[in-house]
Symmetry: C2
Subunit: 129 residues, 2 copies
């Protein structure tokens, strides 16, 4: 399998980033990922409620090719994360305001409150589930 293309963050232009954000499904994916602090908790397959598999693949590709997300493949799983540190360094303040703006949009697709499944329960709390 050929490795997935991830652009050098310095090659990403602002217009590329905005093009990748110009879709409610991609903004919904971004908002969901922004809530995940742990690496490898978000799988591409978690987003099947957002769109058909082929359309999802297209959207994941748009986010990845614009330098916004990183996709890691392991076996049959594909893990997704935001390239937060790199983006914050290249475009200071932009990602935060984009995520904040998207969070307030009531029309974006969302994952349920139980997502991501298997997130660590902080010490001292017990899960009721």
């Amino acid at each position: 399998m050929k490795p997935l293309f991830h652009p050098d963050i310095d090659d990403v232009a602002p217009a590329d980033v905005f093009a990748a954000l110009a879709d409610p499904i991609r903004l919904g994916i971004l908002v969901a990922l922004a809530n995940v602090r742990e690496v490898d908790k978000a799988r591409c397959s978690d987003f099947t409620a957002f769109a058909s598999p082929s359309l999802l693949s297209y959207h994941f590709g748009k986010l990845r090719e614009a330098g916004i997300t990183r996709m890691r493949m392991e076996g049959t799983s594909r893990y997704l994360s935001i390239r937060r540190e790199e983006l914050d360094q290249r475009f200071p303040g932009l990602l935060d305001s984009v995520i904040e703006t998207a969070r307030r949009d009531p029309n974006l697709p969302r994952l349920g409150p139980d997502w991501p499944a298997g997130a660590e329960v902080p010490q001292g709390r017990t899960s009721s589930r």
Copy 2:
């Protein structure tokens, strides 16, 4: 002549705004307008160096239909301004970070330092031109 369409700012979705920003010429126009503090100092015809007239019209339309700019027609002149207050109210912090990001992009088209022509010279200073 039929009046130009300007969307109600509450009908503008974040994805619409990002779609309008997904082009270096439109980002260049936005950065130029962000430097203008006076109303009616920016004319559409000031941007002829950025693109052909028909392409410029297309870009002005995209910015206007996404609620980012307002266009006012008077006689044969078309004046352009950012809907800053409305945007700041609807998407707090977004416009500033977008403009800041675009300002740092060395590849956007720019207007010369003499633009906008006829800007008021502050009291106590004399123009050397």
